[in-house]
Each structure stands twice: as C-alpha cells, then as structure tokens.
C-alpha cells in the first residue's frame, strides 16, 4: 500500500467518480449514545463533502460531536445512521484505510519507543526494509526539527516536540487524506503557532486532503481553506465558509490582516451563539 503513490490512487479513483474530485463524503450522519438515563444524540443528520486537496476545518463548541464525526470518518467508531464514503468506498468501522492518516488530540506516542522508533512504527509494521526505514526516519526527524533527539524517549520531550513526533509518525506513511483531532489543543499559544507554521509548510507543499477538528477559530482560519461550522449539541451543520486567504500563509502575519479580522468576527458571531447555547444547557 505504501508504495502506491498519490498518482496511482488518483487514477483508481477516477475510474468511477460519483462526484469528480470528491475524497470524503459524509451523508446524513447520525450518532447517538446511550447513557445511564437514556439515549442522547451527539451528531444529528450531518452531511458534507471534502474534495481533493481541500483543508477543511470542522469547527464547533466543545461537546458538539466534531471529534465523534472525525472518529466515524476514521472508522474508529460505528455510526448510528447515515453513510460515509472515502473515495466512494463505504467506511466500515474497524477496517483500516491505508490512504488515511490520523493524528490524535491526546498524546498517543509509545513511551517505550524512542523518537525514531515512534516515527518509524508504521514503516516497521508495513515491513519496510531496515535501511530504507532508517533513511526515511532520519529525514522525518530532521523535517520535524528534532535533529539530535532521535534516540530520546518521548517523556524527555516538551508537548510541542511530542506532537511533532506524532505528526511525523503519521506523515511518514504518506497518507493522501489526513484526519486531525484537535492535534494542537493541549499546546500553549506560542508552541501552537510554531506547529501551525510546520503544518502549513508541509501542507502547502504536499496538499493532502485534510479534515481538521478544532474549537479554536483562529486556528481554523489560519490553516483551513474551508470551515464547516457545527452547532452546539446535538451537532448539526450550521454554516460553511470558504477561507480564501492567499498562500503561503504566515500564521502570525495573517492575523494582522483586515480580511482575517472581518472573517473572524463574522464567524465569531455565529460561533458565539453556539457557545451561549452550550452554556445554557
């Protein structure tokens, strides 16, 4: 699977395109959980498409079900209703799609593996020869700005460095579709901006199809080419914005532009309603 480059997969996809360029299709997605008192709906009839090369941010207040949606797209969670297609294949919970990479919100590095062993994990599982693996891992370590930390255990690293390792661990498998669940949520503002810079550099060069979950509007505007706004619980689709700031983007400079400010306050207003609804619950 790993040897199949993006071109090959695109060709395969072009054979029976229901919608040209569509990579992810979420259709009438439902999710309800049963808790002690009864059932509650977490995701209510959500539909959207993500096209090839789009960077879509799934934005919403805490508890709106955005991570739940992402987990269903990744096949980590069974859905209660609706359908999800990746390249027109139905997503089946428990079945792994090698085209898809996933970055967790929580630190899921393996603490018993060094930085290079963590980054090389997927290659090791795929049976990539040791020499090639070492070569690719070394490049990834350098790219993540972790030169000199290859033999370090994750516990010795800062939160930002750990998340870089997590990012590289996923990216080294060259996924065409990248699912990210608030990957920088636990980082301080400065480190977060550094991570935005790293991610923008990578994405602007490689243009993976990204679905990025966040509750941070500034983050969504900085990174995404499109923002899907979800309502407070139960999560429903509220609005869909195009974010057409020019690229390459500078995460710090961008925030000082008038365009950014205008879009920010516009979405902020819409998002604010949802935050107030969350509080009122």
């Amino acid at each position: 699977m790993l040897s199949s480059g993006p071109g090959l997969a695109l060709a395969a996809q072009a054979e029976s395109p229901a919608v040209p360029g569509r990579r992810i299709a979420v259709q009438g997605l439902m999710k309800s959980f049963s808790s002690g008192s009864g059932q509650f709906t977490a995701v209510d009839n959500v539909s959207f498409d993500v096209r090839q090369g789009e960077f879509v941010a799934l934005l919403g207040p805490s508890g709106c079900g955005k991570s739940t949606i992402l987990n269903m797209v990744a096949g980590l969670l069974p859905r209660s209703g609706g359908d999800i297609l990746i390249d027109d294949d139905h997503v089946e919970p428990g079945r792994v799609n090698r085209k898809v990479g996933y970055v967790f919100q929580r630190d899921t590095l393996f603490p018993w593996r060094t930085v290079e062993q963590n980054i090389g994990y997927g290659l090791e599982i795929a049976g990539v020869a040791k020499a090639e693996r070492a070569d690719r891992v070394a490049k990834a370590v350098d790219r993540a700005g972790l030169t000199g930390f290859a033999r370090t255990f994750p516990r010795m690293l800062s939160g930002g460095m750990r998340q870089r390792v997590a990012l590289m661990r996923t990216l080294i498998l060259e996924p065409e579709i990248l699912l990210m669940d608030e990957p920088f949520g636990a980082l301080d503002t400065h480190t977060k901006l550094e991570m935005h810079k790293t991610l923008l550099e990578i994405w602007e060069r490689e243009r993976q199809t990204v679905l990025f979950v966040t509750h941070d509007l500034g983050e969504a505007l900085t990174l995404a080419s499109r923002i899907i706004l979800l309502s407070a619980r139960p999560g429903r689709l509220k609005e869909d914005f195009d974010v057409s700031f020019p690229r390459p983007r500078d995460p710090v400079g961008l925030r000082e532009t008038a365009e950014f400010g205008r879009l920010y306050s516009h979405i902020w207003h819409s998002l604010g309603e949802e935050f107030r609804r969350t509080k009122a619950d």
């Binding site: 699977m1 990744a74 980590l76 792994v96 090698r98 898809v100 990479g101 996933y102 967790f104 929580r106 899921t108 393996f110 603490p111 018993w112 593996r113 994990y121 997927g122 090791e124 599982i125 795929a126 255990f153 516990r155 661990r169 996923t170 498998l173």
Partner: protein, 283 residues
C-alpha cells in the same frame, strides 16, 4: 536532607557489628551480669545458635573442614551445602520461569478477550482462593519426592501472582495507543506484540519481584514436606538433630539465593523498562 554515603554506610556497618556481637556473646554476658530470671532466652545459642557456631557449621556442611578433602566430600555427601543449594536454586528458577511464562501468557489471552475473561473469571477466583501451600502434599503425591514436585509447587505460587498483574496490565493499555497502532496498519497480533506487551510489561515486572521470593518459598515448603535433597531438606534434617547452627547456615544461603534471583530480575527490569523515569540511566 541528603546524608553522605559514607555516613549511611557507617551506620549500616555499625548495626551489623552490634548485631553480631550481641548474638555471639550476649547470652553469656547477660548470664554473668543479670539475675537468672532476666536472662533473655531469645539469645540462647541452643535456639538461635551464634555466629561462631554458624561459621563452623558452614565449613562442615560446605565440605571445607572435611578430613577427606573438599572434592571427595562433595562427591560422597548426598545433601552437602553445595548440592542442596544447587537443587533449590535450580528448582526455584524453573518454577519461577514456568510460573511467570504461563502467568504472562494466560494474562495476555484473558486480558485481550472479554469472552474468555468472563468464562474463566469465576474459576480463576475460585482457584486463587485456595491457599497454595495446602496443595503441596497433593503435588508431592502426584509428582513424587524429586525435583518435579518442587517445580510444580513454585509454579502454583508464581502463576496466579503474575497472571493477575499481567491481566490488569493488559486491561490498562491505553485504548488510543491501540487505535493509533491500528490506524498505522498494525494487525491484531502486531498490536499485541508492539503495544500491549510493552505497555503491560511494567505491570508484569511489578509482580515478578515478589514472584521470585514466592518461588523460593514454594520450593522450600515442598522440600519441608517431602524431598531427597535441597536447602529445605537440610533444615528439616538439622531440626531432627536440634542443630540450630546448621539451620542458620541454610537460612543464610537462602537469603543469598533470594537476593541473587531478585537482582537478576531487577537487572532485566531496568533494561526493559528503561523508558520509564524511575529506571532512567540504569541498565
């Protein structure tokens, strides 16, 4: 407050020296100095021997003071100290190895399978409620007086300790780490090998250290109840002759055996768990 190493060492040696002096001469001195009713019976060499007697017994049992020479004595004497130590050490080692290997295997299997865990759960609890030592006569009946019954006894004691810890450790594995491994293409077996086992290892090792001592206890008890050779057998023989100093020799050797085995496990632990903060820079 950090005390200097030398100060700590000084006090450690002082306590050792004081203990040895009181043990050696305490009974005679108190007989001379105190009225008869106040002489502490606990110091009576008839019960607890004394260092000089223990040393002599050590030389005799260890074939150092034998008239026929060391090698002839080792060859002729069926349960001399060296053979006894070797037998006990060997049985403890195998009992520990089989016990922990099977405990780890069973813990991993039941920890990864809800179905099996629920089927076997009550049986495990029931078997674990049996005081293991109560089974020793039965084990000897089945396996005879030789090494096999001692290994089986040690296995009985070790298995459950290691099993429960491995089971809990397997249950405690971070679900997101498993999900991450799966998303990177790991099969069920690869998840077991690369995530579950390393993650549960800390729990496993927490049980291996007591398990070593338990294995030694199992073997000794087995030797008490019925054996041809071994340190436990040496104690029983000495008891029949009311020879406290020979018992003490066996007890000291057991202590050394116990320490050596524990050190071996600790060395392995600090190498395999070197990613954990408390083992940083060791191994």
């Amino acid at each position: 407050m950090a005390h200097r190493r030398s100060v700590i060492l000084f006090w450690q040696l002082a306590i050792l020296a004081l203990t040895l002096v009181v043990w050696q001469w305490g009974f005679e001195w108190s007989k001379m100095l105190l009225p008869k009713a106040y002489v502490p019976k606990i110091l009576d060499p008839y019960f607890v021997a004394k260092p000089s007697l223990i040393w002599n017994s050590f030389l005799r049992l260890g074939c150092f003071s034998d008239a026929g020479g060391f090698l002839a004595c080792v060859r002729n004497n069926d349960n001399n100290l060296w053979i006894a130590t070797l037998v006990t050490l060997k049985n403890t080692w195998w009992g520990f190895l089989f016990g922990s290997a099977s405990g780890i295997a069973a813990g991993l299997v039941l920890g990864r399978s809800d179905f099996l865990a629920r089927v076997f759960g009550p049986y495990v609890v029931a078997l674990n409620s049996i005081p293991r030592i109560a089974l020793v006569p039965l084990v000897i009946l089945i396996f005879g007086l030789g090494d096999l019954s001692k290994i089986a006894t040690a296995w009985l004691v070790v298995f459950f300790v290691v099993f429960f810890n491995t089971f809990e450790g397997t249950r405690a594995v971070d679900r997101d780490q498993i999900a991450a491994a799966r998303l990177m293409g790991a099969s069920e077996f690869a998840v077991l090998r690369t995530v579950v086992v390393p993650s549960a290892l800390a729990w496993v090792f927490a049980s291996l250290l007591p398990a070593v001592s338990f294995a030694l206890v199992g073997v000794i008890v087995g030797e008490f109840i019925g054996a041809e050779r071994g340190l436990g057998k040496l104690i029983i023989e000495a008891e029949a002759r009311a020879n406290a100093s020979e018992m003490m020799v066996a007890i000291f050797i057991m202590m050394i055996v116990g320490i050596l085995l524990a050190m071996l496990v600790q060395a392995l632990q600090s190498y395999l768990l070197r990613w954990q903060p408390q083992f940083e820079g060791t191994g």
